[in-house]
């Protein structure tokens, strides 16, 4: 949300931004958790994570063109993203199961190029608009502040998704197995947990979560484009690093912190300075990486 603002500090503006940040943070958290899940299991940063958002969004777009309603398309989108994630794991990453961090990063970079290229080629290089249910544009006013429906949805979606994920991870046998694998992959295997199954499931979940985020992004943006996956990837990456790479809770935390920082900056900085927002966030990322403990990024078994 952009508004005209003066350079003077406006408490009202700040509070509005913070309210927005809850919704924005929810979206960021959804994006970040998927990336963190894969990292915690495989020690890899999946550069193609953003493309799962692209897959989900395009699914909605294509189905809409075929006359399917947005909401049904949204459900299909979640499935598509989950399947796409499993496909990328099975086809591109499994042959590299024990490869180095750099190799996996590169491979995922390549995968992101492939996905982007596919949409570029088979759909269009240009952005396409998606007609989004009117509800996404509504907002309610509370005490002079605006709460966009989209942010309400985001917060709701995040709560539901994260709640279900927590239930799964903590209560179900497969979930506990996955948690165990994320904490000590090799020993989990020695306990009879099937590596391939756990990894495929983690990717599937990361896909579905990215899909949920995609629907929210689509609701705000109203369009799809082949390169739309890059920003979500960047957001997920920044959020994860802020929260501590590999930790699921950290990913959620990082997502909200990032959103709140952005909100605060939006409230205080003149618009011209805002353009540097990303640069600022990434400078923080570099600082965090600089102070990162040795081996944080080479160990595959951080605790959740």
């Amino acid at each position: 949300m952009t508004e005209l603002m003066s350079a003077a500090i406006s408490a009202r503006e700040l509070i509005q931004q913070l309210i927005n940040a809850v919704g924005v943070g929810s979206q960021y958290a959804l994006l970040a958790i998927g990336l963190a899940m894969v990292f915690s299991l495989l020690g890899m940063v999946n550069f193609a994570h953003g493309e799962l958002v692209t897959v989900a969004a395009y699914t909605v777009y294509l189905l809409e063109r075929a006359g399917v309603s947005f909401w049904i398309g949204a459900v299909a989108a979640l499935l598509a993203a989950g399947l796409a994630a499993m496909a990328m794991e099975r086809l591109a990453f499994r042959p590299l199961r024990n490869a180095s961090f750099a190799t996996l990063l590169l491979a995922s970079f390549a995968v992101s190029q492939i996905v982007e290229g596919l949409f570029l080629h088979f759909v269009s290089p240009r952005a396409k608009s998606v007609s989004v249910p009117g509800v996404f544009n509504h907002f309610i006013r509370v005490g002079g502040y605006t709460i966009s429906d989209i942010y309400l949805f985001s917060a709701l979606a995040a709560m539901v998704a994260l709640g279900l994920l927590t239930l799964f991870l903590r209560r179900s046998r497969h979930g506990v197995a996955m948690l165990a694998a994320s904490q000590d992959f090799e020993i989990a295997r020695a306990m009879g947990i099937r590596a391939n199954g756990v990894i495929a499931a983690a990717f599937a979940i990361s896909g579905v979560l990215a899909g949920v985020a995609a629907i929210l992004i689509l609701g705000q943006q109203g369009s799809v484009s082949p390169d739309m996956g890059f920003d979500p990837l960047l957001i997920a990456f920044i959020s994860c690093v802020i929260g501590g790479l590999g930790s699921l809770r950290g990913a959620v935390f990082g997502g909200f912190v990032y959103a709140f920082i952005q909100g605060i900056l939006t409230a205080f900085l003149p618009t011209s300075a805002l353009a540097y927002g990303d640069a600022f966030a990434l400078a923080i990322v570099i600082a965090i990486l600089y102070f990162a403990p040795q081996g944080l990024l080479t160990r595959v078994a951080p605790s959740t």
Binding site: L179, D184, I187, R189, A190, I193
Partner: protein
């Protein structure tokens, strides 16, 4: 007694040979101790058997079947369970969940039965079921590691340095438990630096140094052999 495990194993890490053509047998119902100084290749042997280091050279025959080269999951499902060096319990999971994971995907009744047995054996664990494993003491973690391994009702239990870093009193407790396990029919391959203790409960022993077998025989024989005693630095150990 039937031979449960027969290995003739070489384990390499790149150019380094950690275990060189080690031949070793474990019969059903016995405790076999694998001893030797630091760096002798004992843990690498267990890692090779458990499938954590691959590929290996040579053969690992378990209950008549060649399992060399199988994945760790597959080996576990055939009835070999591991209590790793350093315990390596899942730190963020509760004791209860750690045990659950050990139970794999066995049926509810089977898991419940194993769980009851384990908690009976290790009452200390029963007292802290909801505690995150990372917060347990060394001794408790060791019990958990063994208990977790037992949850899959294994035919062969691989124990890697259970006494490491533990106070003597706890070590006593744990070794007594290990002996009890054997008495209840579990076959155990025990890797230990504390040769005294290990030989105290073992039936037979193998002595390893720099990857190669130095000696083997009944536990008592190794215990009493002067050469071995110096190897294993057992004076006052």
């Amino acid at each position: 007694m039937a031979k449960l495990l027969e290995i003739s194993l070489t384990v390499r890490y790149g150019p380094i040979v950690a275990v060189r053509e080690l031949s070793l047998e474990v019969e059903e119902g016995e405790i076999v101790a694998l001893l030797g100084p630091n760096g002798a290749g004992k843990s690498s042997t267990l890692a090779g058997i458990a499938g954590l280091v691959r590929p290996i050279e040579g053969s690992v025959r378990f209950a008549g079947e060649e399992i060399g080269g199988l994945s760790p999951e597959a080996i576990n499902r055939r009835g070999i369970a591991l209590s790793p060096e350093g315990r390596r319990v899942f730190p963020g999971l509760s004791v209860e969940d750690n045990l659950r994971v050990g139970g794999r995907d066995r049926g509810r009744l089977a898991i419940a039965a194993s769980r009851a047995t384990v908690l009976d054996k290790f009452p200390a664990l029963a007292r802290c079921l909801q505690k995150p494993a990372g917060a347990l003491s060394g001794g408790q973690q060791q019990m958990l590691a063994i208990g977790r391994a037992m949850m899959s009702d294994p035919k062969l239990l691989l124990l890697d340095e259970p006494s490491l870093g533990l106070a003597p009193a706890i070590v006593d407790e744990i070794f007594a438990l290990i002996a009890e396990l054997r008495d209840q029919g579990v076959t155990i391959l025990l890797v230990e630096q504390n040769a005294n203790r290990a030989l105290g409960i073992a039936d037979r022993g193998y002595v390893l140094a720099t990857g190669s077998l130095q000696d083997s025989g009944p536990a008592r024989q190794i215990l009493e052999s002067k050469v071995e005693r110096s190897y294993l630095a057992m004076e006052g150990a």
